[in-house]
């Protein structure tokens, strides 16, 4: 795209920020744009322009109102052009400055690149480029590595109301004019679009990346300052006042403001109805037009909008599977009364290694189910998702592999990670898919109160798709609903342990959500049937390991 241009002779170019000048270098484009601007300006209806300027509408709003591309170059060069067209003396800079309002009544200073920034300081930018420089610096300050950006702008609702009122005003006033019939006012662009258009190219140049759909967002939020809220409160008190009983200026201002606040679309009409006909010197402007003509519908603006500029990246997701080799590591950080339970947590071990590599603000850990702190997670591992907030950098595939190796070579070998990689939002759906049908495989170390017999093997193996009924286990009953849940035990198998007659390994596959420990020991008879009831004796569980989470996501490719 063409770079920004600036008229070379204008002073502001050399005085403005170094980077802004870089942006604006390009002689051929400069000439081309100047010519375009010149041509466009020729077609502006002088009377209308003068009228709007006198109503405190800024130059760029005038341009956009007449369906012209908002000039991106500095205000000064625009003003001088305009004056040339309007036949004014171009060297009377004071005149030019006084012609354009301090703060536009329509765009509230937004298209004049003026706003109230940090510490309530009013910032006035000469051009879109200067403005873009300030934004680009914020991006660089945060240390973001980006390959694209998306630009979002949010404005107070007043702006839209002002746009509508202004269009209506122009339509009403000039609908009989020839030039009006030639061009359609509906071609006018919105303040938001105009601002985005103005900023996009400079930002693309400064940041050296394209604007479009991106995970990296630059968000400009404009909001009105407190003063207007005070007025609103006052207005609400004099609700329904149609005639002025108090001082002319106050009443009128507040009544006009009221209709602006209530946001009536056709407020031009209602405003004129509300304002008493015998009103004169209405809006405190310097204009002397007779009161039969329409009163200008927009209120004077004393303060620019407050601008909050945020740049951030939308969350990125890391998916994979984890294994837990320790019986003293919890899945998530677990603190009770300021004391940590277990010696570490999966989320901290893995998250603590991913977060710094992304230079993100924080992480959120999600896993497809969980296991108790004293239960190991073995076999193919459990699928998990890490959501990294506002990463400053998106790691490359190679770097992700390095992160995985690093976690797996930690000295204490508590946790292992498999198939770590960055996934899109489909990671979520993958994890949530088939959650209810998920089956899990376990190996439990079981003790029974009598020696194992030959029949027991068969008794257990023959049970397929057995339904059991589990009342909410006592160990979680304090925080879960007392319910009776039906669960399926898909299959079971006893593996003898050499050297012991009462201990054995029980392998089984069950429906997601089954409480295995309770299925073994019976939970005081509240899980039925249980291993104890099936084998006709007392059964206890000593150890439990998850050997497989049967899910189709984040598997080794």
């Amino acid at each position: 795209m063409a770079n920004e241009t600036e008229d070379a002779p204008t002073n502001s170019a050399s005085e403005s920020h170094a980077t802004s000048a870089d942006v604006e270098r390009n002689p051929t484009d400069e000439d081309k744009n100047e010519k375009l601007l010149n041509d466009a300006v020729q077609f502006l209806p002088t009377d209308a322009v003068k009228d709007l300027l006198s109503k405190e509408v800024c130059l760029r709003c005038i341009f956009r109102l007449f369906g012209m591309q908002v000039p991106i170059c500095s205000s000064l060069s625009v003003k001088s052009l305009l004056c040339h067209v309007l036949g004014e003396q171009a060297d009377l800079h004071q005149n030019i400055s006084s012609v354009e309002p301090n703060i536009c009544r329509s765009c509230l200073g937004i298209l004049q690149f003026t706003y109230c920034g940090d510490k309530e300081r009013v910032v006035e930018n000469e051009s879109a480029c200067d403005f873009a420089v300030a934004i680009a610096e914020l991006v660089k300050k945060e240390g973001h590595q980006i390959d694209s950006f998306s630009l979002e702008v949010s404005m107070p609702p007043t702006i839209l109301e002002n746009e509508n009122k202004l269009s209506l005003y122009v339509k009403r006033k000039y609908r009989s004019e020839a030039w009006f019939k030639d061009r359609s006012i509906s071609e006018c662009s919105s303040t938001k679009d105009a601002l985005k258009f103005a900023l996009t190219n400079p930002l693309e140049t400064l940041l050296d990346v394209k604007c479009g759909i991106s995970t990296f967002h630059i968000r400009l939020t404009y909001s009105r300052v407190e003063a207007s809220i005070r007025i609103q409160n006052f207005v609400e008190k004099i609700e329904g006042c149609k005639r002025r009983k108090v001082d002319a200026k106050n009443c009128l201002d507040t009544v006009k403001d009221k209709s602006a606040i209530t946001g009536v679309e056709n407020s031009v009409v209602s405003t004129t109805e509300v304002i008493p006909v015998d009103e004169k010197s209405s809006n405190g402007l310097q204009d002397n037009e007779p009161s039969e003509t329409h009163e200008f519908p927009l209120k004077k603006v004393n303060e620019p909008c407050r601008l909050e500029c945020l740049c951030f990246r939308t969350p990125i997701y890391f998916g994979g599977r984890y294994l837990k080799y320790s019986r003293n590591v919890s899945q998530t950080r677990w603190i009770i009364d300021e004391e940590r339970m277990g010696e570490a947590s999966i989320e901290e071990i893995i998250g603590g290694n991913i977060l710094p590599m992304c230079r993100g603000d924080s992480y959120k850990f999600h896993a497809a189910g969980r296991e108790d702190i004293d239960v190991r997670m073995l076999g193919s591992g459990r699928p998990f998702l890490f959501e990294i907030q506002n990463a400053r950098e998106v790691p490359s595939e190679l770097l992700v592999k390095e992160i995985e190796s690093k976690i797996n070579s930690l000295e204490n070998k508590l946790v292992r990670v498999k198939n770590l990689k960055i996934v899109g939002s489909q990671g979520w759906t993958l994890m949530r898919e088939g959650e209810a049908e998920k089956q899990k495989q376990y190996a439990a170390l079981v003790w029974i109160s009598r020696p194992l017999q030959d029949e027991d093997f068969q008794t257990i193996s023959s049970l397929k798709e057995t339904q059991i009924l589990q009342k909410t286990p006592i160990r979680v009953l304090h925080r879960r609903s007392p319910l009776e849940r039906e669960k399926i035990i898909n299959w079971m198998k006893i593996e003898k342990i050499a050297g012991s007659s009462q201990y054995f390994l029980l392998h089984m596959c069950t429906q997601a959500g089954t409480y295995i420990k309770e299925f073994v020991h019976g939970d005081l008879g509240r899980t039925n049937p249980s291993i104890g009831s099936i084998l006709g004796c007392r059964a206890e569980i000593l150890q439990l390991d998850v050997t497989d989470v049967k899910m189709n996501c984040f598997l080794t490719e």
Binding site: R475, I497, G522, L524
Partner: protein, 213 residues
């Protein structure tokens, strides 16, 4: 470790035939399974002859001998999460009657304790009982005895199975024959705790029943 193997396999796959690659993968899977199996098998020598039961492991046992009446010995098993399982201690006078316990009736006091439904995480509709509130009545051939709450709190559950299978009290009063589950407030628990006995003290008090154990 396995990760290392994966890398090597990926690199060499380009030089192998598909069959060889398949064989490699199968071997890898076998290795994985063997490794898993090694992890699963316990060291037999470390296994205790009789492991602690789930109750021993997860609950602390307290006893209330002669609760409101002589011979009415009850237990309170308190879980780490604060819930209390109450039941008849082995030295309860009801067990001395011939034939043991023959029937259990939860319809005592003002309502049938087996009828209510507690719902939700906040345990709505749970009845709040004092420690001396009657929970149920156990009957033997000779007599009937009232079983009390012992712990002030919300009644979460009664053991309905006892209605059809009162014999559970005779065979395993300390497990499947439990009477009810109570949820006391922490402050209420502290108050009652001081009047309960631990296992050792209880055994000593009822020495004659336990003999030389």
């Amino acid at each position: 470790m396995n990760d290392h193997n994966v890398y090597q396999t990926n690199n060499s796959e380009t030089e192998e035939t598909p069959e060889q690659a398949q064989q490699e993968r199968e071997k890898e899977m076998q290795d994985d399974e063997e490794e898993l199996h090694k992890l699963l098998l316990p060291n037999v020598h470390d296994l205790p002859l009789t492991p602690p039961s789930a109750i021993d492991f997860n609950f602390v046992a307290y006893f209330a001998p002669d609760f409101l009446k002589p011979g009415h010995d009850q237990y309170v098993y308190r879980h780490a999460n604060g819930l209390c399982v109450i039941g008849l201690a082995p030295t309860h006078v009801a067990f001395k009657d011939e034939g043991g316990i023959t029937a259990v009736d939860f319809n005592v006091g003002k309502s049938d304790r087996s009828g209510f439904k507690v719902t939700g995480k906040r345990k709505k509709n749970a009845q709040h009982f004092e420690s001396n509130t009657a929970v149920c009545k156990v009957c033997t051939n000779n007599d009937s005895y009232i079983v009390r709450c012992c712990v002030k709190g919300s009644l979460l559950e009664v053991n309905n199975r006892l209605i059809k299978q009162p014999g559970l009290l005779n065979s395993s009063a300390d497990r499947e024959g439990y009477i009810a589950i109570i949820m006391p407030k922490p402050a209420d628990w502290l108050k009652i705790k001081s009047s309960l006995l631990g296992l050792e003290d209880y055994k000593r008090k009822r020495e004659e029943c336990f003999g030389s154990s």
